[in-house]
């Protein structure tokens, strides 16, 4: 007995009255949904991923998409997803892959935190008329300052301050490798961060020579596969990030399918053409915290202690203690990636079930470092599910120095969060290496879109701070008094160390 075909996930219909048979949908759909037969455009809805490319490109607004047009008998436990995963695995016997972030219906903590504003007892500050400081330094901070008083009364600094990245906004772009995404996508973001005075990660795919002009704004990554890593690469970056884990798939390595390893990707990653790039789950030279401290130091030695070294971990249950261990190494910043973080490809079971939300992870890491009196010495970067400027403000109020955005930057370039990134067919030219698809993404245009997004969020952040009577980002950081929990349970509020609304 076969399982037969499953009900359609999406149904595409064309309004025949409106369609002018221009065939743009046929050209644009990389999944082959549309074809022409005679004078009609025909549709194979089963191939659709809801990437919306056809809808965005149709000159006549003739296309509509319906999600789940035919459902199963409803059942609260045996959801559509649960049943389909079983059909799928009964057929394949394999692990199910999926793209983008956690798709499970967990409550979003950010949406249950509200921000504060001033009334009467203190004036709000208008960022259009008064200075408003969002500049953020990422790196090791001195635990105390020594000064020398000179005879003429002048004071001079005697402490040597470790190199810090100077970001003009606390919004940075996280690591998405060349290979996972296209060179045009990386180029667009690189231009955007250079324009807005912030930074982006290279991911674990090496640094393509066309990104060299922006290297001062690039954080190079060293992951367990060590793809693309040599001394030239390390020296080009403004900072180096050791990737231990990723929020979308804590505890496992990465997998770049061979289809995406074209000539250029193979050169940049330093791996054979067309081969799967598989990074192991652990770093095989890091089996304990002291090994990590050693790698941090080795990277610093290699680059003459001129560059900050970050360590990125997935937000897991014990994140606070792990972070405290990292803070004791020579690492300059800790990146915590929450369980909503995006990815090109992750096993569905990891993406949806492993790790903890970034809000709780930041709060507990910040509290742990404070209890040890070392919070201000390292920077804390929060990532994984930052969707808007309010999320940025809340993450900072919970204790982060800065945030990494990922998916949001892709969405700014057109991504529709369809979740099919691992197929190398991204119709928006983002998560693909197919030349004809990559061509669709014009770095000239896309870089403006990404820069606009960063600027807009930064403006909104400044407004939120001004309304709260704060004119410098340092005074928002860890200022949980300016947050209230709305419909959060008491135990979670005690983890976040926020009061409930009305209190």
């Amino acid at each position: 007995m076969t399982i037969g075909s499953l009900p359609l996930r999406y149904k595409i219909s064309i309004d025949r009255e409106r369609c002018m048979e221009c065939e743009r949908c046929i050209d644009n759909c990389s999944y082959g949904v549309f074809r022409r037969e005679g004078d009609r455009i025909l549709v194979d809805s089963r191939k659709c991923t809801a990437c919306h490319r056809c809808i965005a490109m149709c000159p006549r607004d003739a296309i509509t998409l319906e999600e789940c047009p035919c459902d199963y008998r409803s059942h609260p436990l045996w959801t559509r997803q649960a049943r389909e995963a079983i059909y799928n695995q009964a057929n394949s016997g394999k692990i199910i892959l999926s793209g983008m972030g956690n798709a499970q219906d967990y409550p979003v903590i950010f949406d249950r935190l509200v921000l504060d504003a001033c009334q009467v007892t203190n004036p709000s500050i208008d960022p259009l008329r008064e200075p408003m400081e969002v500049r953020t330094y990422i790196g090791k901070k001195p635990s105390r300052i020594e000064v020398m008083r000179k005879e003429n009364g002048d004071v001079e600094l005697a402490t040597t301050v470790a190199p810090n990245l100077q970001a003009e906004t606390p919004i940075m772009i996280g690591h998405m490798s060349y290979g996972a995404i296209s060179l045009n996508a990386q180029l667009s973001m690189a231009r955007a961060v250079a324009e807005t005075g912030t930074f982006m990660g290279t991911g674990e795919g090496g640094l393509h020579s066309r990104l060299y002009p922006y290297q001062e704004h690039m954080i190079v990554q060293v992951a367990s596969g060590r793809f693309g890593v040599d001394i030239d690469y390390l020296e080009r970056g403004s900072a180096i990030e050791i990737k231990i884990g990723q929020g979308a798939k804590p505890g496992i390595g990465g997998h770049l399918p061979g289809e995406k390893v074209c000539m250029d990707v193979s050169c940049t990653r330093m791996i054979p053409l067309g081969s799967d790039a598989i990074s192991p789950a652990p770093h095989h030279d890091i089996y304990s915290i002291e090994d990590l401290a050693q790698l941090v130091r080795s990277l610093k030695e290699a680059t003459e202690w001129k560059k900050p070294v970050f360590v990125k971990i997935a937000a897991v249950h014990n994140a606070a203690a792990i972070a405290a261990g990292i803070a004791r190494s020579s690492a300059d910043a800790i990146v915590i990636d929450g369980f909503r973080g995006g990815t090109g490809a992750a096993p569905r079971v990891f993406r949806d079930h492993v790790g903890i939300p970034i809000e709780a992870a930041v709060a507990s890491v910040d509290a742990k470092l404070r209890s040890q009196g070392i919070r201000n010495e390292v920077s804390l970067i929060a990532s994984g599910g930052i969707r808007e400027s309010a999320d940025v403000a809340k993450a900072i109020a919970l204790g982060a120095d800065a945030v990494y955005i990922g998916t949001a930057a892709l969405v700014a370039m057109g991504c529709r969060v369809c979740g099919s990134c691992y197929r190398n067919l991204c119709p928006w030219g983002i998560a693909t290496q197919e030349e004809r698809l990559v061509q669709r993404l014009d770095p000239e245009v896309a870089s403006h879109q990404v820069a606009n997004l960063i600027k807009a969020w930064t403006l909104e952040l400044a407004e939120l701070m001004g309304a709260a009577g704060i004119n410098s980002i340092e005074s928002l950081r860890g200022n949980r008094d300016r947050l209230r929990g709305y419909m959060l349970d008491e135990s979670l509020m005690s983890v976040l160390d926020v009061k409930q609304v009305g209190a």
Binding site: E133, I145, V161, Q372, I470, E474, S475, N479, D481, R482
Partner: protein
């Protein structure tokens, strides 16, 4: 000088208060006990908690003298606490690992007593300094303690319009810890950040108001971090990055390092603050001066106030009146 002038000055500014809290601090109040920590305590009653406190003091040191602080009933001032003072000498040897063992013992006792909420509150703990405060109008509080009977070489005073903890004696300014006293006009919007920072160094905020954190920050920056008072104030109200970017290189390095190291201590929101210790008095405002601050000078006397009227009430012949720019500290050092 005695306390009569500052009482006069403070009463010029009754507009700024609501009759629910006022206070004074005098440096030089106890010359006969100048080597002892003068602990001022509010007892809810003297049956229960006095003995606990005294046991603790005896455990950590030696009470040289103690007495009820003399008060004089005022018609509109309801006496809810009994103010007491102890002249206390800690045994330094009990905290051998510390570089300032006596201060550490006293500040630890203050934190312990004040967080235990047992009906005793230590609101003044420095040497040769005394805080006098209560819930009432400035003149009433002054008369309650007969403030003119005290002599001091630095005086701070404050008139409160409470929004957070009305009527609570502990909530009136000045706030004091060891050598530091603070009066504050405004609201600290960065309180959450400052509190979490200072608490990670063992200070505990107990007074339900944002001002006490300033005393702890000054104590931490000056005593623990060894910063000079002017640099400590600069850490609390630092120059803007744009201004730092334009400074000569060495100055840039210093100011950048200060902000990097002490960013969480930086105070935001509208404020005018005067802090003092036994050798100086420092006034400063927030970085965009959302609260007034006026400075008067007469010979080697320095006056800092929210209003010129108050300065003229103390010294009609004041020589120079000025208004310092935002964030700029006004520092007066005691002439020796």
């Amino acid at each position: 000088m005695d306390g009569s002038a500052i009482k006069r000055a403070l009463s010029m500014m009754n507009e700024r208060g609501s009759g629910e809290g006022a206070g004074y601090v005098a440096y030089g109040a106890y010359p006969e006990y100048e080597d002892c920590y003068a602990l001022h305590v509010f007892f809810d009653n003297i049956h229960e908690t006095k003995r606990t406190l005294e046991a603790m003091l005896e455990q950590w040191g030696h009470i040289v003298h103690d007495e009820r602080i003399r008060t004089y009933d005022q018609p509109n001032l309801r006496t809810v606490h009994i103010p007491w003072r102890y002249f206390f000498k800690p045994y330094a040897g009990l905290m051998a690992h510390s570089t300032s063992p006596e201060d550490d013992i006293v500040s630890q006792i203050v934190m312990k007593i004040n967080t235990a909420h047992t009906g005793a509150l230590i609101y003044s703990s420095g040497k040769n300094v005394g805080v006098f405060k209560a819930a009432g109008w400035p003149e009433e509080v002054a008369d309650f303690y007969r403030i003119e009977d005290y002599e001091g070489y630095i005086w701070l005073a404050h008139n409160r319009y409470p929004t957070n903890t009305p009527g609570w004696w502990g909530g009136a300014h000045p706030f004091n810890l060891l050598d530091w006293s603070v009066v504050h006009n405004g609201e600290i919007t960065s309180y959450g950040t400052n509190r979490r920072y200072i608490e990670s160094y063992g200070y505990i905020c107990t007074m339900f108001t944002d001002t006490e954190v300033v005393a702890y920050l000054m104590d931490h920056l000056v005593r623990k971090q060894n910063l000079d008072a002017d640099l400590a104030v600069r850490a609390l109200a630092p120059p803007f990055w744009d201004d730092i970017d334009r400074m000569p290189e060495k100055e840039q390095d210093l100011n950048r390092a200060l902000r990097l190291a002490y960013g969480p201590a930086m105070m935001n929101g509208p404020f005018a603050i005067v802090v003092a210790n036994h050798e100086m008095m420092v006034g400063f405002t927030d970085r965009i001066k959302l609260r007034p601050l006026v400075v008067g000078e007469h010979g080697d006397r320095l006056y800092i106030s929210s209003e010129e009227a108050a300065i003229r009430a103390m010294d009609p012949n004041v020589e120079r009146i000025s208004m310092p720019p935002a964030g700029k500290p006004i520092i007066g050092r005691v002439a020796r």
